[in-house]
Symmetry: C2
Subunit: 299 residues, 2 copies
């Protein structure tokens, strides 16, 4: 590609830029960001070639635009892009929820709706900003595209090809399927981890408790180190699916509570054992599928 414009030059957008450059898949990258300091740093680090100023200029003849800003900004950014969107420019995003993003696009883009291909790279770290951007973040990872009925297949393929150049594996789901899946395996665990740490932090003997928390607690709560604002937005954006998953989990916990109260060791062991085996199968599958180059094992 000749020219890519990236809104948000932090971990996600910056790593996309670095990966495409390393693959020799793009000639020029223009960065846009709310933070002038981030833009300056991204330029210094060679993540972007140019800091975007005037939108008309930045978007002129762009092949692809990636929105890698917080999801709640999607509608505003799309509205700003709209008047300057040339006939060959495809727009995609990297948001963790897709139903709300698709709805925002539908509300804003009018007859240019088909030019927006929603997407979600399943990769991340606990670090942020241009310094955190690394070229192999997406190596062996999944990118879920959730195409709209209005998308031309060639435009979906352009987005898919860019992610493939980053080393990612493309999956397709509908926005609704996507949001249901990630409510279960990502959004609910975040809520549960935040809830546990907050619960403990509010107990009168919190200091004593934290003093004895060890590596199991550290791993279980690692995702509670994530950005509260980002996860507030995700929780609200995916409210219905998250409520469904939370209710299922509450029912599961209520059953387990009754089994524990009854001293039903066989029932507890059945749940624990089924979980252990399911997790072992999952780990074996995912490790085989992701089998990364040696430098990617750090994740």
């Amino acid at each position: 590609m000749n020219k890519i414009v990236i809104f948000g030059v932090g971990l996600i957008g910056g790593s996309f830029a670095r990966a495409l450059k390393q693959a020799g898949a793009v000639r020029s990258i223009v960065g846009m960001d709310r933070s002038p300091a981030s833009l300056q740093r991204a330029l210094e680090l060679g993540i972007i070639d140019e800091i975007g100023g005037d939108l008309a200029v930045a978007l002129q003849d762009a092949d692809l635009v990636l929105l890698a800003a917080p999801v709640a900004q999607t509608a505003n950014i799309l509205a700003a892009l709209l008047p300057h969107l040339g006939p060959r420019t495809v727009v995609t995003d990297a948001g963790s929820t897709k139903g709300d993003v698709a709805a925002a696009a539908r509300a804003v883009l009018g007859d240019k709706l088909g030019r927006f291909v929603p997407g979600h790279p399943i990769a991340g770290r606990e670090t942020n900003g241009p310094e955190a951007a690394i070229p192999h973040l997406y190596q062996g990872k999944k990118v879920v595209l959730t195409p709209l009925a209005e998308n031309a297949e060639a435009d979906v393929e352009l987005v898919a090809a860019a992610w493939r150049a980053c080393g990612a594996v493309i999956h397709r789901l509908s926005p609704e399927e996507h949001d249901k899946v990630f409510a279960a395996v990502s959004h609910l665990p975040h809520l549960l981890a935040y809830a546990l740490v907050d619960d403990i932090a509010h107990k009168p003997h919190a200091d004593l408790l934290f003093q004895y928390a060890a590596s199991g607690f550290r791993d279980f709560t690692r995702i509670a180190g994530s950005s509260p604002e980002m996860w507030r937005d995700i929780s609200l954006a995916n409210q219905a699916a998250l409520l469904t998953e939370l209710d299922a989990y509450l029912a599961q916990l209520t059953t387990l509570r009754a089994q524990l109260a009854a001293g039903n060791g066989a029932a507890l062991e059945a749940v624990y054992g089924n979980a252990q085996q399911a997790r072992q199968r999952w780990i074996a599958t995912i490790e085989a599928a992701e089998a990364p180059p040696a430098q990617d094992k750090a994740e």
Copy 2:
């Protein structure tokens, strides 16, 4: 010390043996285990000097006995030891619950109760068996002793000195305090992780869900890879405290559910933000406290 007898030559007992040997703190270690293969392997690996046969011989002139077998075996092992317990031998254990262990000792040991000093090393890995034993497992880690009123201070100190020789830092709690603390920071998280994986594994679209589970899910559920039998026993042994913590957590989740259903973003962000900050403070404290030698960073 001249002679130590270890019941259970796996990760916990074997690492205790290796650490004491590396520190030059013991002359001879006798191993006992239900598994003849584990004993043979521990002998080959130099973890123990001798496989114990006759209990009277094994215990003769022993300075210290460590029980590192599953907690449910405590009463049986103590009953077997009792007739052969010489006047200078101190007994301790490494179980994850202490109220039940103290009760078992009280039920079995009669006027030798004072010779049993309950303990719990806060260290572990997901690996098991003699091969998993490493000399630095306890380096910089806490060992909680929960002395009984019947213990002589010199006997508590003998146990503490052995763990200190392994590099551990000694803490003291009552058995009841211990069990309340670990119900909150260890036993409940295990139950929650098992419950989530089991919940997902039972959904009709489980394969689809596991396909998109990523690194956050992996960390959150890591403790669901632990032994179901061991955690069944711990759950039952610490039933009352675990129920108290589970009920508090269910109340917290019910509140969060109402806030999510009401679209109360400020309330969600307050919980998430408080959790994130509490966790950051905790991580900073624990990293400073544990600051390990370079070779111990693998945990």
